[in-house]
Structures are given as structure tokens and as C-alpha cells.
């Protein structure tokens, strides 16, 4: 009897406190494709022997690795760093070790909301970082909703759409990687090309979908930037060549942004007061800037965009005052009125049918003048006055 008791204690001890007898839980392939897979294991109703969660996850990880190998790809999954007192089933440590019920550490991309008692894990197959990030941005179309979805009440203890870190399993070990460190200029460039026409969903804090975000199609402008960078003298494939492409795209973007802000402002004025706004831009030496070779005045465009963004409503009121002789703006006086918004200090002064506006902030000084040309037209002239 004594012997039997010892054996029983030994058996229970091993079962509860070591990994020696911790069998993985029942696991299943839920969905697989060349882009990734969803795998699940069934949680126990009562007690889970120590090591069971880790072994179950390892088994699932093996399933994903096999699937990705079929397409000559590597298996990845996204992770989130959990630094709270809430106990997780297991975490992946920075050194790649899996530890049960131990925080802080990284938790894998999973959900418990698909089926009662089942944990579903989402893995990606990719040849390289570009494909991984591209697949991640297309996750809504790659993985069927019914096989992987997250209810709002589970946040923030899920990875969900977060993609700051990911894990890869190589040589029998997990490696945690930081997305920012892996996203080189070349990767970013390829992503811009690959992401053309792809759409991703955006969720609010409750994890509910707020909208769909589409990626701009950079194919044309990248190919045009490439052509110009080669024309300048950079050789295809070099780091300077890639950097040149980004620089040309940035130069192009800065002008485009102010055009968009201008259009928004003009259409607001048109809708509210049926007034047409003519915009003119002058460089620091007073020359008119147009949309051609002189269109590359990033500081002016950024400054003007900033003024329009932060003070658009005030300017609209000023224009209404100019047209109707009202005092919506509170500037119906020759006294100067100052406003500080978004780090940009603007001082306005109305003198008859002309409003003078000086905005300073972030090392930028933009001067704008609004003149009533006719009852239906206002001319806005902005000039870079930064010293």
C-alpha cells in the first residue's frame, strides 16, 4: 500500500509539475493556403498539465511550418508584448524560449472567439519580409472571417491587427523580430508596389471595424521616380538608388498635399458662401510659384497646408466677413488677433477688404493675404517669409 502511494504521488507529481507527461491537446488544421494557415487546439475543461500549452503550440507551429514548406516559404506569426499582471497561457521570451503562465513576454496571434474551448492561431507563409508584410496587410482577404475573428471584449490581450513584432521558427528555435528594424528602404519600396490595390480594415479601440483603408497605387510614380533616378546617374539596386526614389516621391508629395488642402478649403468656401477662391503662392523672393519646375518649395507647401489645416475654419469665417460684412471671425476691427493652434501661432489683422495673416511655428513663417476682388471672388496670396 505504501509502495502504491509512492507511485501515485510520483505519477501525479510528474503529471502536474513537469513536462514529462504533458501531452499536447487535440489540435486541428482549420484553414490552409499558400499565404498562411489557421490552426486550433482544444483547451481542457479543468486542469492542464504543465507544459501542455507549450507542446500544443509547438505542434501547431509544426503544422504551419509543413504547410509553408510546401510552397518553399517560411512560417511566421505576429506577436504582441504583454507586460501586465494578467496571466497568459504561455509567452515567448526575447531569447525564443516558451514559458507557461509567465509575463512579461510575447503572446502569439490567437483568438478564443471562433469556437468555445478552442484557441485558434493565425500563421503566415512568406518567402521574405516584403511578402510577409504584404500578406499581413491583406489578412482580411487571406483568412476567412469565420475561421479567425476577434470579439471586442478580448482586447488588449490579443495581437489582432498589431504588427510591430513577429516571430519566425528556424533551427528549432523561435526568433522575435521587430518590424521597424526589418523594414529597410528596399522592403518599404517593394511594399508600396505590392500593396497597390490592397485594402485593410481599421478597427477602433473596441476592436470593431471602423472602415476600410485602401493603399495608394505607387506603381506609376515609383516607375517614374526610378527612371529619373537612373537618368540622374544612380545605378539600379544600390542603396542610394532606393534612397533617391524615396526622396523624389517625397518632393512630389509635398506639393500634392497642399493642392489637396487647397481644394478642400476652396470647396468649403464655395459650399458655404458661393465664393470662388483664387490661390497664389510666392517664394521668399516674391516670385510666383506654379505647378512646374518652380513647384518644389516644400517648406512653403508644408507651411500653407499646416495653416489651412489648423486655421481653416477661422479663414473661412474671415472670408464670410469679407463678403457679408459680418463678424463671425471676431476680427471686424483693425486690431490684431492672435491664435495659437497646433503649435502654429497666427496673427490676423483686417484692414477694409484685406486680411493680413502671419503664421509662425516650427521654424516656418508664412504670410497670407486675403483680398476681396469681387462679391464672388477672394484672392488668397501666400508667401514664404522664413528667414
Amino acid at each position: 500500500m505504501k509502495k502504491l502511494k509512492i507511485i501515485l504521488i510520483l505519477f501525479l507529481g510528474l503529471n502536474l509539475y513537469t513536462n514529462a507527461y504533458s501531452k499536447p491537446f487535440e489540435s486541428k488544421i482549420i484553414f490552409e493556403s499558400e499565404f498562411g494557415g489557421i490552426y486550433a487546439f482544444k483547451n481542457p475543461w479543468f486542469h492542464a498539465p504543465k507544459g501542455s500549452y507549450i507542446n500544443s503550440f509547438k505542434e501547431i507551429n509544426n503544422l504551419s511550418t509543413s504547410n509553408c514548406n510546401k510552397y518553399s516559404k517560411k512560417s511566421y506569426f505576429f506577436v504582441q508584448y504583454l507586460d501586465t499582471d494578467i496571466r497568459s497561457m504561455f509567452t515567448i521570451q526575447k531569447n525564443g524560449d516558451l514559458l507557461e503562465g509567465k509575463n512579461p513576454g510575447f503572446i502569439p496571434d490567437d483568438t478564443v472567439d471562433v469556437k468555445l474551448m478552442w484557441n485558434h492561431y493565425r500563421f503566415y507563409c512568406a518567402r521574405d519580409m516584403v511578402e510577409l508584410f504584404a500578406n499581413h496587410s491583406s489578412r482580411a482577404t487571406i483568412f476567412p472571417f469565420k475561421f479567425f475573428n476577434i470579439a471586442s471584449f478580448n482586447i488588449p490581450y490579443v495581437v489582432g491587427d498589431i504588427s510591430a513584432n513577429f516571430a519566425i521558427f528556424e533551427n528549432n528555435k523561435f526568433f522575435i523580430k521587430n518590424r521597424q528594424e526589418e523594414e529597410t528602404l528596399q522592403v518599404q519600396l517593394n511594399l508600396k508596389i505590392n500593396n497597390a490595390n490592397s485594402i485593410s480594415t481599421v478597427r477602433n479601440q473596441e476592436h470593431i471595424v471602423d472602415g476600410n483603408i485602401g493603399y495608394a497605387n505607387y506603381k506609376n510614380i515609383i516607375s517614374e521616380a526610378k527612371r529619373l533616378c537612373e537618368k540622374i546617374g544612380y545605378k539600379d539596386g544600390t542603396e542610394n538608388y532606393v534612397s533617391c526614389i524615396f526622396k523624389l516621391m517625397n518632393i512630389s508629395d509635398s506639393y500634392e498635399q497642399v493642392k489637396i488642402q487647397d481644394n478642400i478649403f476652396s470647396s468649403n468656401v464655395k459650399n458655404k458662401a458661393n465664393i470662388k477662391v483664387e490661390s497664389r503662392y510666392l517664394s521668399s523672393n516674391g516670385n510666383a510659384i506654379t505647378n512646374n519646375e518652380e513647384g518644389l518649395f516644400k517648406r512653403l507647401w508644408k507651411g500653407v497646408s499646416w495653416v489651412m489645416y489648423e486655421h481653416g475654419e477661422e479663414i473661412l469665417n474671415l472670408i464670410l466677413d469679407l463678403k457679408f460684412g459680418t463678424n463671425y471671425s471676431g476680427y471686424n476691427t483693425s486690431a490684431q488677433v492672435s491664435n495659437n493652434r497646433g503649435g502654429l501661432v497666427c496673427v490676423q489683422q483686417r484692414l477694409g477688404d484685406v486680411i493680413h495673416q502671419n503664421c509662425k511655428g516650427g521654424g516656418v513663417h508664412i504670410y497670407c493675404m486675403y483680398v476681396r476682388i469681387t462679391d464672388m471672388t477672394i484672392r488668397k496670396t501666400c508667401r514664404d517669409k522664413t528667414i
Binding site: 490595390n197 485602401g214 546617374g233 542610394n240
Partner: protein, 145 residues
């Protein structure tokens, strides 16, 4: 649509007012209303922050795809707040609408490059070298400052 109340250039707010006469499923501004988990996941619109354009369409017949321009705030399908923007174009094909809304324009041209190439060449730099390439790029960047 057929009554002619939808006009290019109209604000999104006016657009939704006109569209409110349709049934929920046929209106791009209301068709996302639903309470099932699945309906909360599937929304009809796409917003392109980089081009400031937004596509809206109904969830029923999907006959028309409305592209709005100058959109800083897209339509919020949960609160039904319109955001901003004006109607720019109407498509009958979703793919055409997506191509149109996602297209970015490139504003650096050959003329600019050639101007600075000449300036750098006049400084004694040889063409097809990294030196002249760095010089041209630097001048382009200086110009925008």
C-alpha cells in the same frame, strides 16, 4: 440616381441626404447598418488617405460606385457621420473606381532634372557617376527648402 439628384461636385452631406430616400440596403450611406458580428466586419467604403479619395457604394445591387475627392474625414459607418469631401466621379465598375481613387500623381519631371544636371555638369562633374547624381538630388532637395 435616376432622378438626377446626384450631381458631380456635391458635398458628401448633400449626397447622403439625397440617398436617404433609398432603402437602407440601396443607400451607400446606410447600407452598413447591421448588428451581426459579420456585418460589423464588412463595410462598403474604402478610404485612400494618401490620395484623399473615398469610394462609397451600396451593399445590395452594387450598381454604382461613388468616388469623393478632398476627403480628410471619411464616412463613419458606425456613427453615420458623413465626414467631408465632394463627389468627383461615378463608376459602374468597382475595379475602375479603385484604380481611379488609388492613383497618385508624380510632380517631378525631366525638365527639372535636366536643369540641375546641367548645373552640376558645369561644376565639372561627369555624367553617369554617383557624384553628379548626388549633386542633382541635393540641388532638388535644396530647392524645396
Amino acid at each position: 440616381m435616376d432622378s438626377g439628384n446626384i450631381k458631380i461636385g456635391m458635398s458628401k452631406k448633400d449626397f447622403c441626404i439625397q440617398m436617404s430616400t433609398f432603402s437602407f440596403k440601396n443607400s451607400p450611406c446606410f447600407s452598413a447598418l447591421g448588428f451581426s458580428r459579420e456585418s460589423l466586419e464588412v463595410l462598403n467604403g474604402i478610404y485612400y488617405p494618401e490620395t484623399k479619395k473615398e469610394i462609397m457604394h451600396d451593399s445590395n445591387k452594387k450598381k454604382y460606385f461613388f468616388v469623393f475627392q478632398n476627403v480628410n474625414t471619411p464616412f463613419n459607418y458606425r456613427t453615420l457621420k458623413e465626414g467631408d469631401g465632394t463627389l468627383e466621379k461615378i463608376f459602374k465598375n468597382f475595379d475602375d473606381a479603385k484604380v481611379f481613387a488609388s492613383q497618385k500623381s508624380f510632380l517631378v519631371n525631366d525638365k527639372m532634372i535636366e536643369k540641375y544636371m546641367k548645373a552640376c555638369k558645369d561644376m565639372g562633374l561627369l555624367i553617369n557617376t554617383e557624384e553628379i547624381a548626388n549633386c542633382v538630388l541635393k540641388k532638388l532637395e535644396e530647392k524645396q527648402k
